[in-house]
């Protein structure tokens, strides 16, 4: 089957075509085939939720519940679970968990795991692509789930309409999270495993840290919710709060702003990738190699190459 036929099936709602097209874009190394480009015009229908937090906070169980609850509302869901890998933990940071047991058998839920190493930047772009494709496919809800390890939680916040940061009581993460600037990216805090000792205190700590600048310019007051995801406790309240945040953003116009910013960043990336491709033609790469043999100052060589690029373009 050729790509146009896959696109046709995609347009008809075929899940296999959806999966195939995500893979095709993921492996395209930025050179999106022309047949697939129109798909990216059809975004904007989905509500994108980012879920991030430390390893072991229970993010995947929580996401699993969100899927179930949204399905009960007859909404369709797509999940992109990004697992940046550490070479020392061997594979995904989250380990080889069995995931999405309940949601996984529901045809209204599409789940895609993305794991790689050595290309965190590329991974973020792939996740964005996949979110766009799920959006264009007609999913009502797109959830981006990622473990926070320095860069990934920023990427997820950039890709989402609403960002949920999941913490647990005993780790003392709350205050650290504040220090690390997570407050800036988080729209909703969830204290999961709230049946454990110290949960109340941890929630108070987070609320205390939020106190000073809790209210955003758009009037949104960052809430701290308590959940016990493996028992499903507190999840309906999370769904309600997400809806409240979505409505608040829509009314204040900040949703539109956020989405414009996102599109802008996305196009910047596309432009830079394309320019990089043109820059490093075979001849120019050979020129680089040759100049290095002669051992000049790197900045002078760089200036030569830019001069050559500008001359020829």
């Amino acid at each position: 089957m050729n790509l146009s036929e896959w696109v046709e099936r995609f347009n008809g709602g075929d899940v296999r075509a959806l999966s195939r097209i995500i893979s095709r874009v993921e492996n395209s190394n930025g050179l999106i085939p022309a047949e697939l480009k129109p798909i990216f015009s059809r975004t904007g229908g989905a509500y994108r939720i980012g879920v991030t937090g430390p390893p072991g906070a229970g993010k995947s169980t929580l996401v699993d519940w969100l899927c179930s609850l949204y399905r009960q509302q007859n909404l369709t869901v797509g999940v992109i679970a990004v697992d940046p890998t550490s070479p020392f933990s061997g594979g995904a940071l989250l380990g080889d968990r069995i995931r999405m047991t309940r949601a996984g058998i529901d045809p209204g839920v599409f789940i895609r795991s993305m794991a790689t190493r050595g290309t965190l930047g590329g991974l973020a772009e792939s996740a964005m692509d996949a979110a766009d494709i799920l959006d264009a496919f007609g999913k009502d809800i797109v959830i981006l789930e990622t473990v926070g390890v320095g860069q990934s939680e920023l990427d997820v916040a950039r890709a989402a309409d609403t960002t949920v940061v999941v913490l647990v009581p005993e780790s003392g993460d709350g205050v650290q999270a504040m220090k690390a600037g997570l407050m800036e990216i988080s729209d909703i805090f969830v204290l999961n495993k709230a049946d454990r000792p110290m949960a109340e205190r941890a929630a108070l700590e987070i609320e205390g840290a939020l106190e000073l600048k809790q209210t955003r310019a758009d009037g949104w007051k960052i809430p701290v919710l308590m959940t016990v995801a493996n028992k499903g406790e507190g999840l309906p309240a999370l769904v309600d709060t997400l809806k409240m945040h979505f409505d608040a953003m829509k009314n204040s116009g900040s949703l539109e702003e956020k989405r414009k910013d996102r599109r802008r960043e996305r196009i910047r990336k596309v432009v830079e990738r394309e320019l990089r491709r043109r820059l490093w033609s075979e001849e120019r790469f050979a020129m680089l190699t040759e100049e290095i043999e002669n051992g000049d100052n790197p900045f002078e060589i760089a200036a030569d190459i830019i001069g050559d690029f500008e001359g020829k373009e």
Copy 2:
């Protein structure tokens, strides 16, 4: 004092000027001042050693000992300790350790810590810049130390002549490390905390995993050393092995090859950064914003912007 005066002092071996110039470059956002560019022609004298491994493997203690042992040989040492930060562990992954207690008071050892979050790519470039500056300053040995969290260990391998991967017995890291392709970047494995139970077995496991493709094209056989860094045990053997690797690379010509690749990558980065800067002029950024308002296909907008850039250059 202006920058030229700092460069003069730098050339005279002033450590404060060294520190100042590293900071200046680190904060330059890629726009290296003209006065500083000549410094980057004077690299190539230092032997660059990368040290990577999981948190808690004892890397900083080991690096501390390397400093002492090299000083005993009357070699000068510069250390760049890169700590990518996690928002959930609060600050550096390695925690707020007291580091370099012995080496830190020796004027022949210069230590620079770099920690940031959200800019892993930028951090790698800053570390490369700092390594070049230490090299140009006349350091005989430049050590790049970083915790391995997916990308950083690849960056350190790219920046170093020799890469040492430090593991510990109990974590079962050995086989995982092999799986994750660390064998490709590692020139020497160190099994630290080798006085713990299971150390022998862990070493055998790593050796077993190395067995199949242990010998590189250049004839180097990746050794597995056992150390107890907090007692200084096995460190002299590591220094000897580093020397052997350096000599082997020099004789086979692979050192020169490696350094050429490094320069090439470096220049690529410089060129791309500069081109990005020119691309996003204020007018072109405004154009991007305007087109987004009209809500076209992102790939069409990207094509427009590239067309505009090419036309004007």
